[in-house]
Symmetry: C2
Subunit: 391 residues, 2 copies
């Protein structure tokens, strides 16, 4: 089903940038433009600024995943022992599209500078644009003028449509299965790895049973005790540490359902939390609530961060603050905007989706962060993450 809102925005954005077309191949950008999520990264799409049809060129093994796509989908045979040369097939198909849309002298945008890339379902192997593939791409329409459209794509991605937010709610449901299981599984004697596997199991086994979920990927990381104190690192790491009474466990969970991401965090004490842990938890929870309440269209993105900071400072925990309060997300685990951070005067818009994740890290209590994802709405904010928070 076509997301007309998305198509209209993309066309307007292209016209504003004086581009005639975009050629996209990263699954995270194709799922935005076309609603379908390529599995291997060898698909190419041509999206034109005019109102003609747009084309998607995919390997034949992804026929199921491309089902229901509104674009003009062409397949090349791949991968078979007797396959034709896929590059030759792509060359022929793009050439045909270029002739049909008169792109010979067009101004075309491409994905030149995606340095942070979301894995497709085939997460063990990520296919990305590189110098040789960009040169190949440009050789397909050699008389065209090519422009790096990375910034334009990030601007488009930052503001989600209604349909996209509906798909983000599905990713949140899948992540929610893991958050609930996490709360049950944090008890003395469990290891970080055991908890991580229980979260993974809950998300995957329950997630793939949801009617609208085709492909589910789960990225849990659990750190406990002294390890959790280091959970401000960009990647929490799961080890073999066994929880003792009073250890705080922190779950950092990424979940991806057909290209739509959730990025959530919960903490839980094994057994009885200490008085300090409860105080820190209460402050973080209050900071998150206050930051979330500050989110609305027209508000500068620094404001929710400042609101969270004020709560943590007032509680006396300023020195345990390490990181900013939020980042964009949705078509990938993290997206550049909106960053809820000091000095960011960008105004929040309806459709912005971001994390709200205050956290405190200290040797006396471990790492305590709460992370929800929210969408900016006409009358304020929708909290997409529904799971309760207790320590």
């Amino acid at each position: 089903m076509v997301d007309q809102d998305r198509v209209d925005r993309m066309r307007a954005s292209l016209r504003h940038a004086k581009l005639d077309a975009l050629v996209l191949r990263l699954p995270e950008n194709i799922v935005m433009g076309f609603g379908v999520w390529p599995m291997n990264g060898f698909s190419y799409t041509v999206f034109t600024a005019d109102d003609g049809p747009v084309a998607l060129i995919a390997p034949s093994c992804e026929d199921e995943e491309m089902g229901g796509c509104w674009a003009d989908v062409r397949f090349f045979t791949w991968p078979r022992l007797a396959m034709s040369d896929p590059l030759e097939a792509i060359r022929n198909l793009i050439g045909e599209v270029a002739r049909h849309h008169k792109l010979a002298r067009a101004r075309i945008g491409y994905e030149g500078s995606f340095e942070c890339v979301a894995p497709s379902h085939n997460a063990g192997e990520v296919i990305v644009p590189c110098e040789s593939s960009n040169a190949f791409l440009k050789s397909l329409i050699p008389s065209a003028r090519w422009f790096d459209a990375t910034t334009l794509l990030h601007e488009l991605r930052a503001v989600k449509t209604e349909q996209e937010i509906a798909r983000l709610r599905l990713a949140q449901r899948v992540a929610g299965f893991g958050l609930e299981k996490f709360h049950e599984s944090v008890v003395p004697g469990m290891t970080e790895a055991e908890i991580a596997t229980m979260v993974y199991t809950a998300c995957l086994a329950q997630g793939v049973r949801l009617r609208q979920a085709r492909h589910v990927n789960v990225y849990p990381q659990v750190s406990a005790g002294a390890n959790a104190e280091r959970a401000w690192r960009p990647i929490v790491t799961t080890g073999s540490r066994r929880l003792r009474e009073g250890d705080v466990a922190l779950l950092e969970l990424g979940a991806c359902v057909d290209g739509f991401w959730a990025d959530v965090t919960r903490v839980k004490a094994a057994g009885k939390a200490t008085s300090l842990q409860r105080d820190v938890f209460a402050a973080v929870k209050a900071a998150q609530r206050t930051a979330t309440a500050a989110i609305a269209p027209g508000v500068e993105a620094r404001v929710p961060h400042e609101a969270a900071t004020a709560v943590l400072v007032k509680a006396g925990f300023e020195k345990y603050m390490v990181h900013l309060t939020g980042h964009g997300l949705g078509f990938s685990y993290h997206e550049p905007e909106p960053f809820l951070m000091p000095g960011n005067t960008m105004k929040l818009k309806v459709g912005h989706v971001c994390s709200v994740e205050p956290g405190l890290y200290g040797p006396a209590f471990g790492g305590i962060r709460l992370e929800d994802n929210v969408a900016v709405t006409a009358d304020g904010v929708e909290v997409l993450t529904k799971t309760a928070k207790t320590i």
Copy 2:
């Protein structure tokens, strides 16, 4: 601990290519050159062709992971709210290294064309070279001459050292936990997702307890029945299908331990296999055994494929063959060489590591593939995958 064999090979390769240095940032290449595995993709290394020290520049949050590295490790503060500009820190550090090694007019290789990239431990978000980052890199030593070293790096990677093969054995041990669990868990009534989660759980929970394993990533995909018939696709997909008596389940398993990969496959029938399934399984197993026995230094890479094919043809199953017999692997899930495929006259060398994975796919029996990983040794071949094979 320095892998002197690897260092010597890299220096010889640089001198042969008339390069003075390599600048590497992909974790899969850094783990080859330096033995340590960056977690986030924001590390840079400078490896010089002369005998001076080499430098590794890493974010401060990865101090643990860089522990024991033999290189001159420098850290930049990252990520903290109060952090300095990381690009500025990288610029200063690389500038210092360039002055020390007199690289101002050097010929320097870089990772220009890695189109297939291995995720680091932070698998939900992959950091890769792109046009803007390559431009940044070149601006650090603007008077140097920069050369795309992708082919040189793949050639270096294809032949593993003794130390690297030891680390691949550890990845195989972790994968083996999953293969054993798979054999237990394929029974009527189980779903694909339930089996996948049991494999994940076995690999992760047992893997992180191994003394030498610091970070473990597991990528299982399970397909059953009619879904398994499509398991020749580059990515098998786990769904919610419930196994019925006689369904064959196929496990495609990638496992990564601190940057070293295993890529293995097993199949198992739920309940009693049909007579046809047993015949197909026996043919695939014989084809794998025959292909493996054909592997030795000096043998052309087409030969093991032809040996497997001859077995499958003789058994009457030629029309169910879809894919080639093997590919390189080790620093990533798949590597280009050695490809065991028709027409490949490249000669196998001691230290080559590849998969041996004949498979047959048909509506009457499902998908039946067996995949082991092997290393070419002076007197033939070492099968790295130890788990038994039964249907």
